[in-house]
């Protein structure tokens, strides 16, 4: 079965040209980067644009730039690019750990991290990780540029703060000062290629002001602020971790679908928090499992 619906295709070479096309078009437009979501959605008729704008020929969107206190990742940076980037591995290891879990090589070679958060499916792997790092989404539109904190980005399943006629140019990810440990724990039905049933990202800085975010267990990736408040500044012990696990049910609202029941998602999210906290703190202290180790 091929794509049944009809649409036009434009391939601008500059951002200005892309914006002109987006603004000048009255109908439904979709921006195409890696296409691993969009083309499946076009086939499923989950979206019905009359115009697809391919941004892959626009220069300057495919770079990872070390800006000192942050790394910026252009909207055409693929998961493979992230996985192979030494600055990312050294300074934002949670992004490398996450990128390695995304689908398979053939998808990672094409799929972009910005596309992942623009698709904004609740199980998107980049969501929880960018939430705990406090990333900022940079966009450009007719009204100029915007910097949207990732906390304000996800509005619902497949819904984001991106406005009509706007394009994401990059995501800026601050490097936590003073070093950090972290963990991305992801549950799926089998190793290899599957969407997450649940995921949790944990950032453990030296002052133990933890950041915690869950994926695939709510309408959007969500920060677990009650858990963060409970743990703030404290040394972890089994009693404290048990109290944090007991808060998980207040932070997430999982559903039952083909991949897992809500009860299973909730219970496993608690277990994943426990294991992730342990790994993140051990990594902070320099004696944890290497990044990329499957903790489930």
């Amino acid at each position: 079965m091929t794509i049944a619906q009809v649409f036009d295709y434009e391939r601008p070479e500059t951002l200005d040209e892309a914006l002109e096309i987006l603004i000048g078009h009255a109908g439904d437009v979709r921006v195409l980067a890696g296409g691993t979501d969009l083309i499946a959605w076009l086939r499923d008729e989950a979206v019905a644009p009359d115009l697809v704008v391919d941004i892959k020929r626009i220069e300057g969107l495919g770079e990872i730039v070390d800006e000192g206190d942050a790394l910026s990742m252009g909207s055409l940076v693929t998961f493979t690019h992230l996985l192979n980037s030494e600055p990312v591995a050294a300074r934002l290891p949670l992004i490398s750990e996450m990128a390695a879990t995304v689908a398979s090589t053939g998808i990672r070679n094409r799929a972009t991290m910005v596309g992942n958060i623009c698709s904004a499916v609740p199980s998107c792997d980049a969501g929880p990780v960018l939430l705990v790092y406090g990333a900022v989404v940079h966009t450009v539109g007719v009204a100029g540029t915007r910097r949207i904190p990732i906390d304000e980005w996800f509005l619902g399943p497949r819904m984001t703060a991106l406005g009509r006629g706007e394009i994401v140019t990059k995501v800026l990810v601050p490097v936590p000062p003073g070093g950090h440990g972290a963990a991305f724990v992801r549950l799926s039905r089998y190793e290899g290629e599957d969407l997450a049933q649940a995921s949790v990202a944990i950032l453990a800085p030296p002052d133990h002001r933890f950041r915690v975010a869950f994926g695939a267990v709510a309408d959007t990736p969500v920060r677990a602020r009650r858990v963060e408040a409970l743990l703030e500044g404290k040394a972890l012990d089994p009693v404290l971790v048990a109290r944090a696990m007991a808060l998980v049910s207040e932070e997430i609202s999982p559903i039952t679908d083909i991949r897992a029941s809500k009860e299973y998602r909730l219970r496993m999210s608690e277990v994943m928090l426990q294991r992730g906290l342990k790994a993140a703190v051990e990594r902070l202290e320099g004696n944890g499992p290497s990044y990329g180790t499957n903790l489930m």
């Binding site: 794509i3 499946a40 053939g106 094409r110």
Partner: protein, 158 residues
Amino acid sequence: MRMDVSVTVNGEPWLLSVEPNDVLLETLRSKVGVKSPKIGCERGDCGSCTVLLDGHTVRSCLVLSVEADGHEVVTIEGLDDEGLTELQQFFVDMNSFQCGFCAPGIVLAATELLEENPRPTREDVQEAIGGNLCRCTGYDPIIDAVLAAAHAGGEATG
């Protein structure tokens, strides 16, 4: 909205007239006549439509034909002008496939792996073919063949 697309397939230049909703997988099979990329899940899950786009594996079911404009596609037919690659010969010798539907995708995924990592571990091979489903073999003979090819490649280059 017909568009002209110029693409190199297995070393041959092609000028193709396509619609924006034409998918690379279909174009390769119906217009170019290359049948090794297989129509499987058509949503990126099974890996049977895998091709090399500018040297890297992609799902040709998730690429619009117009996106290939100016790029180079290699399918298993184009891996070697002379016949089988060393890796393919190991697949034959070690009886690594049964029905063969997944074979083109897996050979391309393993080819990309060995290009980038000539000394893979068993886990590396499992990860590299993790997006390619095989319903016959249980994967072991496939992984064995990739490791054997890596080992032989190591001997050849000292």
